[in-house]
Symmetry: D2
């Protein structure tokens, strides 16, 4: 089950400390210019080792494209992308090879599979998300052709919220903060936890603009359902909300319904989705990350035989996974939207006739 | 895209005011006793028209099983279930056939498909969820064989929270409230909104107990990801959280990690999922519903030609969709778990050998 | 695994002697006029009991459409069709409930599932193919909008070949023979076997005309691959060939290649498929059916406990399944083509832009 | 659509003259010893350039495993395999970049995608089949654990049939001939065509032994249907038959049915499949290949603008694709069987209980 999407679909492979990670992307329509620079830039945003707010593991994360492109343009065949791992320090993990790190997938992988690659979490490492970002970049290239943009940023670090929501500011903030006023406090909150050998949670906002009406495939691949799977399936994500989200549960119909005018919807509590289908308004999503489970304090745990043990971690870890996680959220939403664009193309007989130049 | 699940999978059909709704369930292992009474009881919990807290539409919701059962036992072939619609009042919808009800899928269905069955929302009606409940009942029958139980209840109505969480109480509460102390206030909150021709939001808790370790298929069909799709795809659901959920984003690693002891996890912030795989603890999910979009107050809208119009609804509607929605959430989680039970069966070569009696 | 197709997809249910059989069709673009008469006509062609060349079981095979249509037009939601069984004679099967009929699926179903519905073969009965024909009729309605036609007929009965290939003649032949000259001899061949309480094999040709170039999705859903699955999966089919088929294996490149001229291909050894993609020529397929396994002669078999037994059949059976099988082959090819039409719609970025009216 | 299989599933990428080709394999149960040498040996059997009966293109076809293995054993995570292309001579294709080679996919790829990688046929090249062989080798490693073996060999070259069928002989024959007596004549037939700058067709037999009863998932992923898709989707395959195949269509029920005795089936006209499910007998399949479309004679064709042109090929090509094709057929059947082994594991509730150690 290492594949995501129905038509714009991708399959990933790779472990944190294996030879390489990568993805095969299918369904990209032929004729799309593939800007390799842009893909690399997206990867650079997620790349570890950039500053003190992220893990110290320094990976070049240089993507190579192995197929599917001819003369700079997609050919309709699968686009394979690969990133070789270069900065693994597997030794860091020798001491934890027989124990289960709290908050990590060590325990569940071991019991599910009877064997686990303990080096950096193996497949369960967030390292896999680099391949999602690479695929998301291809999705964004496609979406751009239709005037669709996907944006993201950090809405809170611990309890320090972004007072204003400014996706442009987030693009250049070291911690992708959505707010120039709150950024400093958020940075401090991260470093405060880091110094205490601890970590901190955070939340992320994703917005998509320029969407056509009609994206989302009822009944079981609705836009919001697909987003739920894309984002609740990310490492560390514990909650996802769309539009007014949890607030909607406190509200009443008269307040929460978005009235419609000839100029469009008069509010956007729906977050751009009605009945699982995009309504042309901005898609608005909130994603809530738990604190990094890797902390440098002794923690109670057990080993494979069930004996009491103390977990003491080495290695290099993000003090707040929401930061780099925001880049991954953005990528996943782009993938969902690209998929929905393809799926929706045949919703009407009229559209299909337009494709085949049949008489309407 | 009217199919859900990979191995325990179902496909549904039907519109609110069409002839019938129904589902085909695949993947049920042969040899399971199918207790039709139990399926009907589950449907009765969701059935409309039972009391003043639900819509007045009176549907018998009597399920017929058309295939897949022989002498009371599943045969491994698809189980088709059908519910004929009996209490449609399509006339109620004549006045809205050209306008889009705010908060509903009228607008998006019309633009996506170029045509819409306006009678009761057609396919987009929550009526479809009866088929999910029927399928969920089959899933629960299967899960019961493995000691797994799925429970649900209402955690809040508007801002009135359930002070205690008691799934046993919820089973017999008219509004499936999780709290005997809060039930009365929650009922009042519903009726208060109903009297004002308004509606109110609410939230639901689902818990699953008795899970084996190992359910969930990384990377793109993790247990939490699949739950996200199952629940965020439900009508009216605007947020889904697992375990400590949003609270995790305010927390730090030392507090949020669940330490492990020889007797098991010492806390359950994870909500029973680590790395997308069940860890043997209770699965804990919160689901947040918006208020029913159907309210009996005039609302601004437009018609198909884009002209300003006023939407004035007739018909019969739930004042708080979270109530009956809780039954649907429970059913969907059961379906996800049944699917994961099948998928996980081949995770280890050793398991496969046990199936085929091969030498280990 | 009761679903066929990726986008124009259907899921079927039902047993030979259960209450009903049926199908849910997904992916039909909204706006297609659904001619119920036409669907019934297609079913009538497959309907048993019409003449002495088919089984005596008399089924009305009246299809009811339960969803997905509004005012005679598809709405983009799933189309459910149901056929109630009316002429079951389950008593005919009491004597074989513990033994395995040679040539039938009794043995394999029993061992795979540990239980079998012995009445008329249960799910493994060719009765299920009625649902395929109903779905195929919907596919044909869609294909017609694009000038695509699918035709079929009987090419041989036992060793009696159709000398000429005339799909128009087949339409009105009682045994769907492709040749007015051979029809009489083929009928005699059927009756000769019938009188001897035996059965006879046969072969079928399917042709599709008016295809656009581009149908088929490499690498693993090629047009020929999908046809292979659709047809080799039919009851009684033991071989499928495309274009020059087996003859191609005796041939050489200079003879077998189809030269290309400005007016098109100068021959059609390929049968309309190159690299798994339609090339605009007629699609030509041959399908080879084994003789009906149900014969009225004593046959060696065993019972569930493994004891030697003699199988003596009652019941009503087709003496040559290729006859009615031709109708099913035609339907399945129509389904494959409808699916491919949808899938191919997004092969080029340019097509997608046409759908969304984006600037090219 | 570059993915094959449901549970033992793989996705491939790569073009003939691109940087690399490769595959991601999913669903391999954890705990399987992965013998890399064996995978390489399987690839060596398909490798070009070995002798005068194959193309002169010399590819090392060295496989690298990038993920999914830890300490020599599968971990349950996706196994990525990659083969770098080393001996491309793209120059050979400059002269055909604007024309369509008869019998090849040039014409259809160009029209489907609007662009084509003309170097060696790009994605449509049989080079992709190396990835299938690598995946098939993994499948065979898994099947071996259950005593299942898949064998193949060449049954005919043009009209020169293998008189005897000896799968052991085929293993060491330069042309994988199934018959020591016929091998010499078959070799001559190949060279005769090669000398005339022509090519020749051929046919292949695949046999699988040691199968459990129960493989195959009705209704739409039957064993024979899946084999149909796997093999009719291979480059150059024009017909596939199972068991008595086409002969069955000439036969009668009394002759063609396989009687059953306490010791097993008394004949195997079914080829090991009844009702789409394995019956425990040997699986027997015949596959018919067209002659290589690449011949060194001038052929009529057109260019992209539709002008008359003459196609004169350079490059290096197999005179008979059935030879190396046999290795690919064997691999694909192994993949189908591995998939069916996983899918069948949950057919019975009893099997599932065995996996989870639940009380029966």
């Amino acid at each position: 089950m290492n594949r995501f999407g129905k038509r714009f679909a991708f399959t990933t492979f790779g472990e944190s400390h294996g030879e390489a990670i990568g993805a095969i992307v299918e369904g990209v329509p032929a004729g799309l210019k593939i800007d390799k620079e842009f893909i690399q830039q997206c990867l650079n945003k997620r790349k570890p080792g950039s500053n003190q707010y992220a893990t110290g593991r320094k990976e070049g994360d240089e993507v190579q494209i192995l197929s599917g492109i001819f003369k700079g343009v997609s050919t309709g065949t699968p686009i394979a992308m690969i990133i070789f791992n270069t900065n693994q320090k597997s030794k860091d993990y020798e001491n934890i090879k027989d124990i289960f790190r709290p908050g990590h997938a060590d325990f569940t992988y071991f019991h599910k599979y009877g064997i686990r690659d303990y080096r950096g979490g193996g497949r369960s490492s967030a390292r896999e998300s680099a391949t999602r970002v690479a695929v998301g970049a291809v999705a964004k290239l496609m979406l751009k052709e239709f005037g669709i943009e996907v944006l993201s940023g950090v809405a809170s670090v611990g309890k320090v919220k972004s007072k204003n929501i400014d996706f442009e500011f987030a693009k250049q903030s070291e911690i992708y903060s959505l707010c120039s006023q709150s950024e400093e406090a958020q940075k401090k909150e991260i470093l405060r936890h880091k110094k205490m050998h601890n970590s901190v949670g955070g939340s992320v906002k994703v917005k998509a603009t320029g969407l056509p009406i009609g994206l989302g495939e009822p009944m079981y691949y609705k836009l919001d359902g697909a987003i739920g799977e894309a984002l609740l399936g990310l490492n560390g994500v514990k909650a996802v909300s769309i539009g007014s989200g949890i607030e909607a549960s406190f509200s009443n119909g008269a307040s929460n319904n978005d009235p419609i005018s000839p100029e469009g919807f008069l509010s956007n509590h729906s977050g751009g989705v009605l009945g699982g289908i995009s309504n042309g308004e901005d898609l608005e999503i909130d994603i809530f990350f738990k604190p990094t489970p890797s902390i440098f304090q002794p923690q109670k745990t057990i080993d494979k035989e069930g004996n009491e043990r103390v977990c003491e971690l080495k290695g290099r870890h993000d003090p707040c996974i929401a930061i780099r996680g925001s880049v991954v959220c953005e990528a996943m939403v782009a993938c969902v939207l690209a998929d929905m664009m393809l799926l929706n193309a045949t919703s009407k007989l009229e559209s299909l006739k337009r494709v085949y130049n049949a008489s309407v």
